[in-house]
Every structure is written in C-alpha cells, then in structure tokens.
Symmetry: C2
Subunit: 342 residues, 2 copies
C-alpha cells in the first residue's frame, strides 16, 4: 500500500502484526508493551504473531512517541584504565538489567572534552548521564544542563550533581595510619595530578597526608612531598626524586596504585628491597596489586559504578535517592609495607 516501495521493506511493523492478529494497531501496541487493559487472550495472540515474525517494537518509534530513548550515556576520560573499565562494566550490567542501553562518550583529550561540551553530541540521545570521575568547570556544568536530563557523578565531581564516591580523606588517613602504626616517622608522599584535567577538586588525599603527620606530631618536610603526572611513569619519576634525597624516607604513601607500580620498579632497579628498605602503600587495589604484593587501600570501582547507575535509575523512576553516597575503603595489608629497618 505504500507509495514509496524503497521504504516499504524495512521489515515487519506493528501494523502488520496487528493485521495478522486481527486487532487494531492500538491494541497490538498495548499487547506488546504489556500495558494493562488488554485481555490475556488478545495479548497472547498478538505476541504469538510477533514471535512468529521475530518482531520487536521499534525503539526509535516507540521512543519518539513516548519521549524517552531507553539509553543512558556514560561520560568518561578513559575506558582502558582499570578503575574506569570496571566501573563501566558494572554500570552497563545494571542498566542492561533494567532494559537500558549504555552509550559511551569518551573524551580522551582536553580537545575532545572541549568539543563534547560545545557540541553536546549526547543531546536528545539519552535519558540520563553518568559522569565518571570527571570534574566539571562551571561552564561545562552549564552546558551539560542543556542536555536537560538526569545526571549522576561518580568520583571527583565539582558540580552539584548527586554523586557516589569514596571518602578520599578517609582513604588517605587509613594509608597514613598504617604507616604510622608500623613506626614510620619519615614518610613521603607522591601525589598525582592529571595533566588533562581542567578542573580538580581539593586534593583530599594529600590533605590526609599533612593532617596525619600533624596529628602524629611529625614536622612536614617539603622535600618529602612530590607531585607528579598520573600513571606509572609519574610514580617512577616521583620515586626517583625521593631516592635522590640526602636522607630518603623509610616509607611512602602514593596517590594510587598505578603510580605505585612505577615506583616499585624504580626501587627494584635501584637494588632496594621492599619493604625492608622502603615501605610502599597506595590507594585503589587495582587488579595487578595483588600480584605485585602491594599494600593498598581498597576502593571498589564496581560498587561505585553500580550505585551511581542505581541512583540514576531512581531519579528516572522518580523514586527517592541519596544525593551523596560514600562507599567504604579499607586497608589491604600485603608485602610492601613493614616496620622501618631500624
């Protein structure tokens, strides 16, 4: 019946199903969506016909009609780093369980990030957005609000969206506490900055470092605090700087596991033994840390992803939710820390 044959065979439509089932389009639609107010027999009949044709309702058309997309966007700066990858995997899992698709927007570089907020490619494409460990400038937040969808942040946000995160200050305290209890007094810190991050919240981990030392009555030494770019290379650089001191520390608290891996390599190559010559602790408990016998403070990336996704689902369903959720961290003592040699 179509006057445009080239469009005619895009596949079976609800109209076809309705016709074959001997009901109206409206009833077929209700039967397929499980809306109430259709007799069980009719529903069965319609669905049987649909089944026979391997028919599924077109999400595009359905979404257009009802005004939702059935998709959630995840905005992130990385996919291939353990924390992000694990959080993403869990997010996808939660969303899929609720029938929602996950679309990934990865802004690798500052340029990508800039263009994302200028062009807003997610506009009109998602029902909600999960912002993964991406601090937002006020301008970026303003742009994001143009999406006009629910937003939840996981870790390190600067805007005022509902969020899920660890308590970085507490995690830092746990790490420092462990070193102090072991008897260390000369404790260094290798802090990390993301060279690509335009904005970053107050660094709670380094704050924990200074506070813990102060609380223990230990004087701060400028040389013992180094700040390096993110990643194993940064950790290596930081450790090299510490080893070059006239009097190196006996222990070091490192911003995160990734950095610690680089630091451990430097120690090994320098012929130093861990933990005898240097205790090393960091934060994350990334997958490799167990293999490397690294003492660390565990944060659960998957849990954070899960809770963030669930928060977003609650917002979309207009159910109550917590604006701020802190997930627990805990010390995982392994072989890279011990009491100082003397």
């Amino acid at each position: 019946m179509t006057t445009k044959p080239e469009r005619a065979d895009r596949g079976v439509t609800l109209a076809d199903i309705a016709r074959e089932a001997g009901v109206s389009l409206a009833t077929a639609s209700r039967a397929m969506s499980g809306a109430r107010g259709v007799s069980a027999a009719t529903t069965r009949k319609v669905r049987a016909v649909a089944e026979r044709h391997s028919y599924v309702v077109s999400p595009e058309a359905s979404g257009l009609s009802r005004g939702s997309t059935g998709r959630i966007g995840v905005l992130t700066r990385h996919i291939a780093r353990p924390f992000y990858a694990e959080a993403l995997e869990e997010i996808e899992s939660v969303l899929a369980d609720h029938g929602l698709d996950t679309v990934v927007y990865c802004v690798r570089t500052p340029e990508d990030q800039h263009s994302f907020f200028e062009r807003l490619p997610a506009r009109r494409k998602v029902d909600g957005l999960l912002v993964l460990a991406l601090p937002l400038s006020p301008h970026e937040k303003e742009r994001l609000d143009l999406l006009d969808v629910a937003v939840v942040a996981a870790s390190g946000q600067t805007a005022d969206y509902p969020y899920v995160s660890i308590d970085d200050a507490e995690a830092g305290r746990q790490a420092m506490d462990h070193l102090l209890r072991l008897g260390h007094r000369r404790i260094a810190m290798i802090d990390a900055i993301d060279p690509n991050a335009s904005e970053w919240p107050i660094e709670l981990r380094s704050l924990a470092y200074t506070r813990s030392l102060e609380a223990a009555g230990i004087e701060l030494e400028e040389d013992l605090f180094v700040r390096v770019p993110w990643g194993a290379e940064g950790g290596a650089e930081g450790m090299e700087r510490l080893l070059s001191l006239r009097e190196p520390p006996t222990a070091v608290f490192i911003h995160s596991d990734d950095l610690a891996y680089g630091a451990l390599r430097v120690l090994r190559r320098a012929g130093l033994e861990v933990p005898r010559d240097m205790s090393v602790i960091s934060i994350d408990d990334a997958p490799m840390s167990e293999l490397l016998d690294l003492t660390t403070v565990r944060q659960d990336a998957r849990l954070q992803g899960r809770l963030a996704a669930e928060t977003l689902l609650a917002m979309l369903a207009d159910e109550p939710y917590q604006r701020a959720r802190l997930t627990p961290t805990r010390l995982v003592p392994r072989g890279s820390t011990a009491a100082p040699a003397r």
Copy 2:
C-alpha cells in the same frame, strides 16, 4: 497549538525554528542537515536561529524518518580486561569521529550470552555491530543475522563475518622461535581456555607450539603441555604443575600476558629467578608487561579495534573493504628470557 499540553514542552522543534526563520519545515530540515539545494543565505539564517535556541535535530525523529539509528553496537564478553578495554576505547574514538554513537553490550556470563542471542536487545537499535573476540556458534550466528545489520568481528570469530585479527599461529611461532634461538630445548607451554566460551576456534597458539618443536626436531612431551583456565590464577596453576615435574622445563611459552603474570608470581614465591632458572614468554604486551619486564609478542589491541571500526564504516558507506585483515605482531624482548643456564 498542541492539544496535549503535557507533551508540548519537550523543547524546541524544527517547526519552531522554521517558523522563526520564516521558512518551511522542509527547508529548515534541509538547512540543518546540510542537504544541497538550499541557498547559502537561507542555510545561514536557519542555523543562526537554531544556534540561538541551542537547537539540535532530534536523532530519534531523524533516524525514524531516514531509517538509520546513528549507533553502532559493540558485543563483548569483557570490558575490564586490557585487550578489550583498549580495543573498545579505540572503537569509540573512531566511531565518534564519524558522528556515530557506541553502545556496549557486554555478556559477562554464559547466561548473559544466551539471553543476548535469544532476546537480541540490539535489534532495531544499531546500524551495525562489532563483535569483540567472541566466537559464535552456528545458532548464535543465525540469531545475529536477524539483526539485519552489518557485522564485523575482531579476533577469534567462528562465523564468516569480515574480521580483523592477529595471526595467532605466527605470533606463537615468533614466541617459540625466540626461545629456540636462545638455545632452549625443554620448552613447556601453558595454554588457556576460556571456561565461559561456548565455542572456540582451533587453537592456533598451541598449534604453533607443537609445530615449532617439530620443526626444531624436538620431541613433544605430554607433561610439558598444560591447559588452564584464563587469567592470572590459571597461569599460576599452570606454572605450579610445571614446577612439580621431576625435570621442569627451562623455558615456557604462555598463552597470554595475564597468565604469565600469575606464573611469574609462582616463580618468585618459589624462590626461582627469572630468566636464570626459567625463561618466560607470552603474547599480548598488556600495559603491565613492561613494568614486569616480561618478554612478550606484542599485539595491538587498539589497531585491531580501529581497523574493525573502519571496516564497519566502509560497509555502511557501501565502500570497498577487506574481508580479512591481519594485524602484525612482533617480539618485544625484555628481561624474562635468556639462554638456558647450562
């Protein structure tokens, strides 16, 4: 003018833009899409109005009309493993550069996988599908064909879709060759099987092992070939079995880096030194391998992801493409291999 006010304020529509620009809907549509046949002045006027309202064309409506979704699905069993995460990151990057969204379908368990192929949640939602290192049974392939979209496989496929992959046999040969040249004769292999994989292609890596030994005139020893489940734990188990032999090998070729990490840990804990007591080589060159000083055969996950995405783009654009693309692998000699002790 709408009779349904609750639907009225979903935002600015093309009709609003057209009205304000003083043109018809049709012309506004053409101006926004950049279709030819609109005067430059009109185009400018329409776009200016759109800009002023932060308007973008609704992908849902546009897609419904033109019959495409602007989305590509990625089907995978993992997100949080380096190979997958890197490939995915690159895929997203390529697709985003072409204005396409990436939606992830991660089937973690055999049940997830089964349900994916039964329910086909990607149906009517994507213009194409990238299957990441997921071997398909004939039945699964049959189901997938119901999606009626372009499909490209990256690594380890069993169906006959266009694909991108390394040459596993060649990679294995490179690894074995390295050990043989160093003078090893007693070479073991730790092979991996994915306990979740319903189907798996002929194992080309272990084939390379036997062939290389045969070519070198070395007799195969059953004890020297062990097969374990995937992951570091599997590698540890495999190495333990090899160490328990009356006469352990002097070198071992391991299916992939992940397994090698576990094997290295077992060696270290057993007080054995690498490479003095045992040479270790594997395939992948995952991010941690450099830190662990692991000799390996590098495969480029990002390149595979990129080429797979580009192949899919070519298919969608009806441009010529290669049905099979093999990406190169190369030996990366590091500190975990050396000539046998005596």
